[in-house]
Symmetry: C2
Subunit: 157 residues, 2 copies
DNA sequence: TATTGTTATACTCTATAACTATA
DNA sequence: TATAGTTATAGAGTATAACAATA
């Protein structure tokens, strides 16, 4: 893309209020256009949203995590996580082993199957976002690309 | 804000893939920083997420809506909506009256109390977005403002 | 006879409480 | 005695099925 013509670089209200309002509009539309499909895919896979979130946490963490820590991360009770994880172990998505340094604690890691499962859902979510982006005009998409880059560059590892 | 210096207007990948990826990063962070508070506020108010969504639909529609239509809009079963609405009626948030042209159908409208309730949650969500935006650097926020404006301008009424 | 909404029933997920095993 | 996790039990929300009222 070329540097934009000056005609496009009009002043924009960059107050927190204005930006938050526009962000709210964007979020609402993004949800409506991308969410329903994932919802039905998760349900069809016979898995729980909580279980998908468990997979997501395990996917992004570099080292194993225990039930209690996972519970705290997701803001759900320990028994709820224990049950969710138990289901994942039975499905072969997660490996649960005793921590050798404290045998009360169980360390959780993704199996290859679990990683594939999570990546399938992540791909579905990404496809929804892509469709949303592809529906924009070229001008909208280019402006958004330039506006997101500094922030996304900092936030993503 | 002045027109940006040329140094800032570097080329950015505006492909659907790149923009969708950055949008995904933004969304994830937005959730993590803004959602937990609303979650606890809803629970503390003794109301259901489904009921809040019902209030939101009624708030934005110009005319009354029936149970069946609300059910379809939210993607939940008619009995689930019937129960959710019943709770809202008992709390005085929603008015439910027979449609005079088809007395099987019940028309739903927000009461003043219902509108206030929804606006309280909307304000909470907005405050979360504002905090998220206020945490950015000036450069990030200004770039985002310019990038969101065309899209948000089109999407919002 | 078909349709709109409500009530009945069963199921899933979650939280609190009770429990087991390690520390 | 305290802590990590599991199992027991109860509660909330949803879906399917059965029903009542109206078309």
């Amino acid at each position: 893309m070329q540097a934009p013509s000056l005609a496009k670089v009009t002043r924009v209200d960059a107050s927190a209020e204005a930006v938050a309002a526009d962000l709210g509009v964007l979020m609402k539309h993004m949800f409506r256009t991308t969410n329903r499909e994932i919802f039905s895919a998760v349900e069809e896979a016979g898995i729980t949203f909580t279980q998908v979130k468990c997979l997501g946490i395990l996917d992004e963490l570099p080292s194993p995590i225990a039930i209690g820590a996972l519970s705290e991360t997701l803001g759900l009770s320990v028994p709820a996580i224990s049950r969710a994880v138990d289901g994942l172990v039975q499905r072969g998505e997660v490996k649960r082993t005793e921590d050798p340094r404290d045998r009360r604690s169980k360390l959780l890691t993704l199996t290859a199957k679990g990683r594939r499962t999570f990546e399938r859902f992540a791909a579905l979510r990404f496809a929804g976002l892509k469709r949303f982006v592809a529906d924009m005009s070229d001008e909208e998409r280019e402006a958004l690309a330039a506006g997101l880059r500094p922030l996304a560059g900092r936030l993503s590892p």
